[in-house]
């Protein structure tokens, strides 16, 4: 059974608004939360002193805040399908609560993953400061990961929208558990794609936008068998082109 388009919009519009606000923040970059500050000491190579200096210039709280903004900007649009599932399978008065629990579960996993990815970013900035080597290496890893059966497995599991309890604490736990599971498979699917733009010294906004487009697109693709496969995952582009044609044809 499906809910009305109006009710669906009531859930989806706030999610997309959150994403839009987060994108604005990324663009404005308040307090330089999206960029790593450097000085000659931190650029002098890996050492305990340079690491301490890097952390002093880039407090963990600031890094995690930047990561959270990035997460909400990039991932919110990919959550419309699982959140739609939570809404349809919940009592009307519990829908908002279940969605929030789902998002909490999902965000907890991604924040944990974010701490690892940020640590990797800091480390790479010390080991190979002011070079494109980390970007190239991570870009290659991301490419291989994209083609791998492990990536496909993660995408497939992201499509598995599980049954949810309806009443009481069981419903709360199921929504939370669904968010955690979905978040875990999402991390498995997207960690390399998320790391790549973080390492760019320039153009990372455009890179994040491109990666977001790719991530939305690959979620729209149906699940499939596990195999090595070079796929452009261009479904979102195909939808845009097909729907534009339909509308232009309708205008004639």
């Amino acid at each position: 059974m499906t809910i009305s388009p109006q009710e669906r919009a009531r859930i989806y519009i706030p999610i997309l608004l959150i994403s839009a606000i987060a994108w604005m923040m990324l663009l404005v970059n308040p307090g330089s939360i999206m960029t790593l500050a450097h000085c000659p000491v931190t650029d002098s190579g890996a050492s305990a002193a340079s690491f301490r200096m890097l952390l002093a210039m880039n407090p963990v709280s600031s890094l995690m805040a930047g990561w959270a903004v990035m997460l909400f900007a990039m991932m919110s649009p990919t959550l419309l399908a699982p959140i739609g599932h939570v809404v349809e399978r919940s009592f009307k008065r519990r829908r908002a609560r279940s969605v929030i629990l789902f998002v909490i579960g999902y965000a907890v996993i991604w924040m944990a993953a974010g701490s690892v990815l940020l640590a990797a970013k800091l480390l790479l900035s010390l080991v190979a400061p002011q070079t494109y080597l980390p970007v190239v290496v991570v870009g290659l890893i991301a490419f291989v990961w994209q083609c791998s059966p492990i990536k496909q497995r993660c995408l497939n599991r992201g499509h598995n929208h599980r049954e949810l309890a309806a009443f009481g604490i069981a419903a709360d736990l199921d929504a939370l558990r669904f968010g955690i599971n979905h978040g875990a498979w999402c991390v498995g699917s997207c960690w390399a794609l998320m790391l790549f733009p973080m390492l760019l010294s320039e153009g990372h906004f455009a890179a994040m936008a491109a990666v977001t487009f790719l991530m939305i697109s690959e979620r729209l693709e149906p699940p499939g068998p596990l195999s090595w496969r070079l796929s452009l995952r261009g479904k979102l582009m195909r939808i845009v082109v097909a729907q534009t044609r339909i509308r232009l044809h309708g205008l004639r």
């Binding site: 497939n156 309806a166 729209l220 149906p222």
Partner: protein, 511 residues
């Protein structure tokens, strides 16, 4: 005058005296003589519907009982496989048009083979109308003979065809199979005579299985599949029981020819197909795969639902578009319901005429659910669906207000995330000891695979329980806080089948 007329397989008693069947057998034989990677072969066409070639045990194609002897090599190129194979559309509003194109392409291949063997140029696929008179619910006898009249092996004979009682007696059980959905008036949606999600199926993108069946697909399509296929020895099952094997059985195409005939008959009653561009232009309109079929001249036919939405544009017709279903006018049905709920007959008629025929739209709300997953054992399963007090009150208020011009809620039972390993079964579902309906598990195994087209979500069955809830309301028995749901399989459930129902729920749908 159409060039091709599809006629009843039961003409001339369904034997090889029916020339359509005799030439079909010869055409199938010719296609079966070709290699798997030949786009004109029987095996290639079966794989277009769905295939299990790579599995190392049953239901892998290399592990099926013969006849037919099914090849698993040589494989076509990956590009060809991605264009053509594993296309069948199920649990989708594309179910009727995709299968219509599939039949036309297969028919063209058979006709080319028939003509090359000296047969008629106007040969057309016969249909098996299991709702026909006398014993037409039985498979036409031509499919049960091991030899053709000339003494050569009969290509229409299939060993893995076991029937509803799994005893080799092949027929369709009527009921539960019925023509009742011919009374639907909405292709996608619902109204007083059309159960959600509608006659043709729910709006989807490219849908190679999984989700919620359309009404025509649910009954009779799915029921006929599992009746004909049935269960075999050692946890095997008939080819027709599983979408990944079904296209190997020649009876498959006569069954689908009848389903296509029912769609044509439904249109002939004045019921319209969708007019949305996303249906007319097919799944490519929403970024999905195109429908593609290899044709006898070596070309690839790319088609959309708009290309096949009427038979006349395809130069086809059926010998008969008659269906025996009783005609129910939506307004009459709604008026009856309103009177039952306490409305004055005149008010009921007016209210029904005002809104009884309209699509109710998507506006479902959860009313109650059971506690958690239910495993289906040999004798069945039982679930207590607890109703939420506040939402139930909305339902009762709606039913009570039916005495005014306001249309009452409809209520649905939903079996969610049904998963398992064996499709060859039917489930009889009842609520508070009142029979709700029977659903077939066709497509269950593939919809339950985590690394296949539906990601392991399984199937979801939606059953209309409006009458039952209305009766409880009228009898002042809707005060109960729960409903007793019983699910009984038609055949014993083997442990290996591992059939689970994720959740049993009740939804209301405002009008």
């Amino acid at each position: 005058m159409a060039s091709f007329t599809r006629k009843s397989a039961w003409n001339n008693s369904g034997t090889f005296k029916n020339q359509d069947l005799l030439w079909y057998a010869k055409g199938v034989g010719k296609m079966q003589s070709r290699a798997l990677n030949d786009q004109k072969s029987w095996w290639f066409f079966a794989a277009i519907h769905g295939q299990e070639i790579s599995l190392s045990q049953f239901p892998g194609w290399g592990h099926l009982p013969s006849p037919p002897q099914v090849p698993t090599t040589p494989l076509p190129t990956l590009t060809v496989r991605r264009l053509y194979w594993d296309q069948c559309q199920h649990q989708s509003w594309y179910f009727p048009p995709w299968h219509r194109g599939y039949l036309i392409a297969l028919e063209a291949q058979i006709r080319a083979a028939v003509v090359s063997l000296g047969g008629p140029k106007t040969w057309a696929l016969p249909y098996w109308n299991y709702f026909g008179p006398a014993n037409q619910y039985e498979i036409p006898p031509a499919f049960t003979k091991t030899k053709l009249p000339d003494g050569t092996p009969n290509p229409l004979f299939v060993k893995a065809r076991y029937g509803p009682k799994s005893d080799g007696n092949i027929y369709v059980e009527i009921p539960p199979a019925s023509e009742k959905n011919m009374n639907n008036t909405v292709y996608t949606g619902s109204n007083v005579v059309t159960k959600f999600p509608g006659f043709g199926g729910p709006k989807t993108g490219f849908s190679h299985g999984g989700g919620t069946n359309g009404n025509l697909e649910s009954n009779p399509h799915n029921l006929v599949h599992v009746d004909v296929g049935g269960n075999g020895p050692n946890n095997t099952y008939g080819l027709m029981s599983d979408p990944g094997l079904a296209g190997l059985d020649p009876i498959f195409y006569l069954h689908h020819c009848n389903i296509d005939r029912m769609w044509a008959a439904w249109n002939a009653k004045g019921n319209p197909n969708p007019t949305e561009q996303n249906w007319l232009k097919g799944p490519a309109a929403v970024g999905g795969r195109k429908f593609a079929m290899p044709m006898p001249d070596g070309s690839s036919w790319i088609y959309t639902p708009a290309d096949v939405k009427s038979l006349s544009q395809l130069n086809y017709t059926y010998e008969s578009l008659t269906v025996a279903a009783q005609v129910i006018q939506p307004a009459d049905k709604m008026a009856q319901r309103l009177v039952k709920l306490g409305a004055a007959p005149a008010a009921a008629t007016a209210a029904a005429a005002a809104g009884g025929t309209m699509d109710a739209g998507d506006n479902a709300e959860l009313v109650g659910a059971n506690e958690g997953p239910v495993q289906l054992k040999g004798s069945g399963a039982r679930a207590t669906v607890k109703l939420d007090t506040k939402v139930k009150k909305k339902v009762t208020s709606s039913l009570a207000a039916a005495s005014t011009a306001s249309l009452p809620d409809r209520t649905y039972l939903q079996l969610e995330n049904v998963r398992g390993n064996i499709d060859a079964n039917k489930l009889d579902v009842s609520v508070n000891q009142q029979h709700v309906g029977t659903v077939a598990l066709f497509g269950l195994r593939r919809a339950s695979l985590k690394d296949a087209a539906h990601g392991g979500e399984g199937l979801t069955f939606v059953m209309d329980i409006t009458d039952i809830i209305d009766n409880l309301f009228v009898d002042n028995a809707l005060d109960a806080n729960s409903l007793d749901v019983r699910i009984v399989p038609s055949n014993p459930v083997a442990d290996e089948a591992k059939i689970t129902i994720g959740r049993v729920s009740v939804y209301r749908q405002g009008q």
